[in-house]
């Protein structure tokens, strides 16, 4: 698979006083990928996004966007845009002017007829054609979220960073917006880095998911990989597995090296059962392990 690195983190560390919010993260996200950061509250998801977007500078390590180190570039010089969890719309501007904000700045200096055209297109994209003249305060939460999305998307960033953008919505609207986001992402083919603490959401939308814990990655992989073969107990737990057993490997058959099929292991649980399991980890006889059914 040919993949150009869109976002790359290399041994990034971020501390707030004594708290290590992000601890030695390394990560490569390909161009056009829908990449989710999944993890419990306080694990460093927002901090990771802010590091990519330039709202925080790493204490050590490098952040790359499209192959360039951007550590010392302020947010306004980065080709990434953030959709904030609380939307952060400009309350003094109409929906139209909110969306046009980036286009009208000196660095872009878009001619006004062009701005009008692009804003109309962006409104159409998020199905808010009739809301252009309103103020943010006159919109519902879901509508505000879509304005925030349009405001970022209109600038065609190389990377769009979304921080729990559906967190405040009810289940139905959430489902609809998930679909819509996925559609938009495929339509405009921008790299999405999507923060959520809802595993179902991450599973249903992403190309790849990174499970985070205490500022570090537990596991990175496709939704299937993470769901079907979580590599740690934490991941399994977080994926919603409800029957996790601890045990010891009593026999391992690694299978033929290079063979597509995974080997099998025999595990004796603490309660005395013996189970056979297909296994793609390199477990050797005697190793402690946990598994779920």
């Amino acid at each position: 698979m040919k993949q150009v690195a869109s976002v790359e983190l290399a041994h990034v560390v971020k501390r707030y006083g004594d708290v290590i919010a992000v601890n030695d993260l390394s990560l490569v996200i390909g161009e056009g990928e829908f990449f989710s950061l999944l993890g419990p509250s306080g694990c460093g998801k927002t901090t990771t996004l802010r590091l990519i977007g330039g709202l925080e500078t790493p204490d050590s390590g490098e952040v790359y966007i499209s192959g360039e180190v951007v550590n010392d570039r302020p947010p306004y010089e980065r080709s990434s845009n953030i959709v904030f969890q609380n939307y952060a719309l400009f309350p003094h501007l109409t929906v139209n002017d909110n969306i046009a904000f980036g286009l009208r700045l000196k660095s872009r200096r878009t001619p006004e007829p062009e701005v009008k055209k692009l804003v109309a297109q962006a409104l159409e994209l998020v199905h808010l054609e009739d809301f252009g003249a309103r103020r943010p305060i006159q919109l519902s939460g879901g509508q505000q979220q879509r304005v925030a999305l349009a405001r970022a998307l209109i600038l065609r960033p190389k990377v769009l960073l979304l921080d729990e953008p559906l967190g405040a919505l009810d289940r139905k609207l959430r489902k609809a917006m998930q679909k819509e986001l996925r559609r938009i992402q495929q339509e405009v083919n921008i790299t999405f880095v999507y923060v959520t603490h809802d595993q179902e959401e991450a599973m249903s939308m992403s190309d790849r998911v990174a499970v985070m814990r205490n500022g570090d990655f537990e596991q990175i992989g496709s939704p299937q990989e993470i769901f079907q073969s979580p590599q740690t107990r934490f991941t399994a737990d977080f994926m919603g597995a409800c029957n996790i057993y601890s045990g010891r490997v009593i026999a391992a058959d690694a299978g033929e090296v290079g063979c597509a099929s995974a080997g099998t292991v025999q595990i004796e649980t603490e309660t005395g059962f013996t189970v056979m399991s297909r296994n793609n980890l390199e477990l050797s006889s005697g190793a402690a392990t946990s598994f779920s059914i």
């Binding site: 947010p75 306004y76 990434s80 609380n86 952060a88 003094h92 980036g102 700045l105």
Partner: protein, 302 residues
């Protein structure tokens, strides 16, 4: 009037309005409306009443209706002094806005843990008498005051500069006195400003400058407007500062009105000029709010 009496008065007023729904304002007679009535509307009514009375001999007031006082409102001296007062008050507002914005911005964004201490410093002058503080400016600005002595010492000037008893001295006194009234509402609106909105502006490509003029400034318009009103209204009617620092050449409207009451002993005329001052202040503030989009700015600050 004892507290109980006030309480009973309020109760009976409430009962009156309940029993007479024809007086539609009955429903509006909330506690706040009651205090407004006691401390604002009734004294104002007395001033209006006096302005229509006749002046008796030796400064007495005769309870007899006349429009005599109103025939004198276009007195050229009144208009001249009023114009000077407006000029000084507007200059005060402009200088306080510029200086106050910088101070409030600095405290709100860079104050860190010292914010409360810095705010305390802003209101510290209120702890001593305003009179004493104005006198202190005389010691600073007079011909042999600190400022002139210093400038002569470093040989920047040979002769003392005329710093006192002119409009400059009044302006210094006004800015000094009313600056905290500008800083506090500005600080409040800057403090309330949602930081993530500023981050969003940077993220969308705004430089620090663009962000300030397109986001920070419009979103603190409410603070700027209320600070301006808090400074403009008392600065316009200021009595003591021009009296002490201005002398005869820099008389302001407050002193002019006081002279009608105390010097001329003409209470109806003094009342009339007071009302004129109030009216013009209201008109000027109304225009200011209209131009500044005051109503909207206040709504957005929710």
């Amino acid at each position: 009037m004892k507290v109980m009496d006030v309480y009973r008065l309020r109760k009976s007023l409430l009962r009156f309005f309940r029993n007479h729904p024809a007086f539609g304002i009955g429903a509006a007679l909330s506690p706040s409306a009651f205090w407004l009535l006691i401390f604002t509307l009734i004294p104002m009514g007395i001033v209006i009443y006096y302005s229509f009375l006749t002046r008796g001999p030796w400064g007495t007031v005769i309870n007899e209706f006349t429009l005599d006082s109103y025939r004198l409102i276009l007195d050229p001296l009144f208009l001249k002094i009023f114009a000077r007062s407006v000029k000084l008050a507007v200059l005060t507002v402009v200088i306080c806005l510029l200086a106050g914005y910088m101070i409030a911005y600095w405290i709100a964004f860079y104050g860190g843990k010292r914010k409360n201490f810095l705010l305390f410093l802003v209101i510290l002058p209120f702890w001593t008498s305003y009179l004493v503080r104005i006198y202190a400016w005389i010691a600073l600005l007079s011909d042999h005051g600190l400022v002139n002595n210093f400038l002569i010492k470093i040989q920047l000037i040979d002769e003392p500069l005329p710093l006192l008893h002119n409009e400059f001295a009044v302006l210094v006194g006004l800015v000094y006195t009313y600056l905290p009234f500008m800083i506090l509402p500005l600080y409040a609106s800057l403090e309330r400003l949602d930081r993530s909105v500023l981050e969003a502006a940077s993220d969308l490509g705004a430089t620090a400058r663009e962000r300030f003029f397109q986001v920070t400034l419009p979103l603190t318009k409410g603070g700027m407007l209320s600070g301006s009103v808090l400074v403009f209204a008392p600065a316009l009617g200021e009595y003591l500062i021009p009296e002490l620092l201005g002398g005869a050449k820099a008389m302001m409207i407050g002193k002019f009105i006081a002279l009608k009451f105390i010097g001329l002993r003409h209470w109806p005329l003094g009342s009339t000029y007071s009302l004129m001052l109030l009216l013009m202040t209201l008109i000027l503030l109304y225009l200011y709010m209209r131009v500044g989009g005051g109503k909207e700015a206040f709504q957005e600050q929710r």
